[in-house]
Structure formats: C-alpha cells, structure tokens
C-alpha cells in the first residue's frame, strides 16, 4: 500500500539555521499538508497546499516558514531561521480528495 514518506527522521540544528524538511506524498494525491506536534501538546495544522499554491495557513505559519513542491514528487517545508520553540515533530500529509489525510511518519526537529 502506498505511504507518505518523510526525510530525515530526525534533524538537529542550531538556532538561527535554516532547515528543509522533505516529504514524498502518495503519487496520485493532489492536496498536501504540514502539521506539527510540540512535545506533550496537540497536533497543530500549519499549512495546506493545492494546485501549486498555499490554500490555507495557520497563524503559526509566519514568514519564517515556506513550502514548495519543487518537482512532481517532493513537498518541502523550509524554516528560514529556526528558533528553540520550533523544536517539534513535523508531519506531512497528503490527500486525493481533500477529505481523508494520509500522514507520514514525521521528522523530529531539535533546535539547540
């Protein structure tokens, strides 16, 4: 069964550095998402992406965040200048219809 994959599984970075989290959605899916979960807190919506543009974003998704679908298979989340509070588990998800989400295993981001 096709799955969403994410790389790396764990990323450690210094505060102020840029990171790029990568996701490969399920191949025939059209809708793409990023969520995050800070340790001990709820899973939170960050952004959705459809037809090569952002369709919705949360208040968390400020100017330091950006998303891109650089080719037909990858979907990336870039954090320009990481802060300590960006440490979290980041989940990518995709959907064919926009209703049911298929989630990846997550990337654990640790900002030192």
């Amino acid at each position: 069964e096709p799955e969403v994959t994410q790389t790396p599984s764990h990323q450690v970075t210094q505060m102020g550095q840029e990171v790029i989290l990568r996701c490969v959605p399920i191949s025939n899916h059209l809708y793409f998402y990023w969520y995050r979960q800070i340790l001990g807190q709820k899973v939170e919506f960050l952004v959705s992406f459809y037809n090569n543009e952002i369709s919705e974003k949360s208040e968390i998704f400020d100017d330091q965040f950006s998303v891109e679908r650089p080719d037909g298979s990858n979907f990336t989340l870039k954090i320009r200048s990481t802060k300590l509070e960006d440490s979290a588990m980041y989940f990518c998800a995709s959907s064919h219809t926009g209703l049911d989400r298929f989630f990846g295993p997550g990337t654990r981001l640790t900002v030192l």
Binding site: E56, L99, F103, P105
Partner: protein, 115 residues
C-alpha cells in the same frame, strides 16, 4: 473556535475485550466531519474511521465503531475484540465541512492492550 477534548490520557484493555475511547468537541457548525486516527509507536498516523455529521448512522469499520451523539457533541470510539496490534495512541479530530483544510486534533489517548 472549534475544540476537541480527549479526557482519557491512558486506557488499557485485555486482549479480546472491548474498550471505548471518549472524545467531545465544541462547535457552532452543523456540518462537519469527525475522525479517529491511530498512531502506533514510531509509526505514522493511520485513519481508523470517519463520521459525517449529517449522517445519523454510526460509522463502523470492522472491529471499530463510533457512538456519535451530535446533540451532546460526543464521538466515542469502540474497539471490539481488542488485539495486541491495537496498542497505539488514538487521536480524535474535527474538520469543518465548509471549505477548510484544517484538522483540529485532541490530545490523544494512549491505549495499552494486555495479553
């Protein structure tokens, strides 16, 4: 704003027994979707079951069924004939049916299954 509450941080069940996980939500909307996701240790979240608010019939998926009480804003998950593989974190989630991409999650319930 919509909220989702899971009041049971942890639950346990004996293999082959039945367990019910609770979820309540708050919304002023009349049309929405509710979901249960399962997250096994170190694995991705998997959709277990979906309920459309306009449907009165409770959704079922093999051993998983829901008790959807729209007036009470309650959406519990019943797992029958529990198996060791059911051990996971279970998240309840809400999504408005008005065009929005945002899934709103509860804090999760960790289910342990004992042999």
């Amino acid at each position: 704003a919509q909220t989702v509450t899971q009041s049971q941080p942890e639950m346990s069940v004996q293999e082959a027994e039945t367990v019910t996980l609770s979820c309540t939500y708050d919304t002023s909307e009349s049309d929405y979707y509710l979901f249960w996701y399962k997250q096994p240790p170190s694995r991705q979240m998997i959709l277990v079951i979906r309920q459309e608010a306009y449907k009165q019939q409770n959704a079922t998926e093999n051993r998983f069924s829901v008790n959807f009480q729209k007036a009470a804003k309650s959406f519990s998950l019943k797992i029958s004939d529990s198996q060791l593989g059911d051990a996971a974190m279970y998240f309840c989630a809400y999504r408005s049916a008005v065009w929005t991409d945002k899934l709103i999650f509860g804090t999760g319930t960790r289910l342990q299954v004992f042999p």
